[in-house]
Symmetry: C2
Subunit: 313 residues, 2 copies
Amino acid sequence: MPEKTIISIGGNAIIKRNGAGTIAEQFENIQAACAGIARLALDGYRIIVTHGNGPIVGNIVLQNEAAKDILPPMPLYICDADSEGGLGFTIQQAVYNELRKVRSAAECAAVITQVAVDPDDPAFKNPSKPIGPFYAKEEAASLAASCGWVMADDSGRGWRRVVPSPRPVRVIEAGVVERLAASGVIVIAAGGGGVPVVEAADGTLRGIDAVIDKDYATSLLARQTGAGLFVNLTQVDMVYMDFGRPGQKGLPELNVENAKRYLAKGQFHPGSMGPKIESAIEFLESGGQEVIITSPELMGDALKGRAGTRIFK
Amino acid sequence: MPEKTIISIGGNAIIKRNGAGTIAEQFENIQAACAGIARLALDGYRIIVTHGNGPIVGNIVLQNEAAKDILPPMPLYICDADSEGGLGFTIQQAVYNELRKVRSAAECAAVITQVAVDPDDPAFKNPSKPIGPFYAKEEAASLAASCGWVMADDSGRGWRRVVPSPRPVRVIEAGVVERLAASGVIVIAAGGGGVPVVEAADGTLRGIDAVIDKDYATSLLARQTGAGLFVNLTQVDMVYMDFGRPGQKGLPELNVENAKRYLAKGQFHPGSMGPKIESAIEFLESGGQEVIITSPELMGDALKGRAGTRIFK
């Protein structure tokens, strides 16, 4: 069993496409993941939890836009930080409650996380990260015209606003996160990929408008904190070849070589499974031991080799 | 010099009444406090920072209301958590930048904080905590009618929405905050008084709609973490007798006995200086050594006895 484990919860697993988006639903949707996390902590795993914020930060942006006649809309990086607070609290409380149910006195805390990016990252000229709700094509065109948003088709599931998604370079608070996790605290960090910041020559930081992909941020945080196992929780039970097509084929195991080969063949969609596979490769090639991709419900089984996809070197 | 120090930044000092409320202004308004905090850290103080969120959580509620036709408004406790994220990030980055300026490698991290309250607290039947912007009397009456909000006059400065403000009973993450601070990390915690939660018989928590006064939450967190010094930063340079009236008189020093006497005489307004004095008394009567009330700009001088009000036992 690897000492330090990083577990990532997908943003689209927190607010589901067809749900109303209420907080009661969000608590319901994360329950399985948090129950699994509490049990792993009891088994001695040292756990860092990351999470997506795609649908939530989009909602916060919409709320800022809706009130713009009375209040100055906050920049996107503040909306990112707000979502780290709201979702961090939600996961923190859900894990706390699951710990109480199994009579554990373990602690859980969400740490607000800044993540440095390169201001010259090409992503700033080519927005690609979907945030917020899904729209019909005509609605999307009208929003592009009225708000100046860039809209794109999200994996064939509908149209969404897309924002720059630069590669994370350094998690600023990684040291604090590592020491807390090493002391046995379940730490929630790099929520929504973290708050994107750029570093000036004098070492000072400032926020920049973007949303960092949480899979890349998780892989980076795993490397900075020396985590050996990276569990990526998503909406599918495992990784598939020819996903969504007749004859799709589940992959219980995948080595880095094949992962790269399938990725190059376009097997994994750039907006969903692609970043999960790429971040898994990054993690394994820089010292990580094992990656598991599965759904929250199957996490326990996947760790015992009975479900999910195991990726290794 | 007391080993562990808690420093509280007032919400109305972060978004000022006559400002536009932009993020640039918020950074500007907290700069003096964060510069002072960075220098105290260099001098060896172990620092926990708390902050108010009054104007900010009110803005988040307004943004939720403005978008309610397209998105379900989040409960007030989620708005509290969002504000812990946004403000926690802002203060965390400002402190980080001030540390870099003085060539310190010290770390700073904001921890999302839940604070347990009593569900039978009388405050739930008597909302008294002002949040959000100021309104003219007529506007306030119209909002009370249309949104069901309770509105009240805030210290004669205008009308605001008031929400329940129960007394904090226990800071759930105090252990994590204490150990981080003891290790030399500047910890931001209990932002906006923390996210109010109630504890069920089985020990599980759930959020409840309220805003906890950050002065009481700070005093409680100081007691739970064993802080000796409590520095309360506000918009006035010191505590005054007959504040705002002709002949007002500044108090460089105040003992607990006199503080109680003046409080009983109604010298300190229940919505502003009152909770600062009450929380100072609470802190000093339960083992705290010293309280300083002053403005961010004068913190350094106040700690040397050259400004502000020093309250002692």
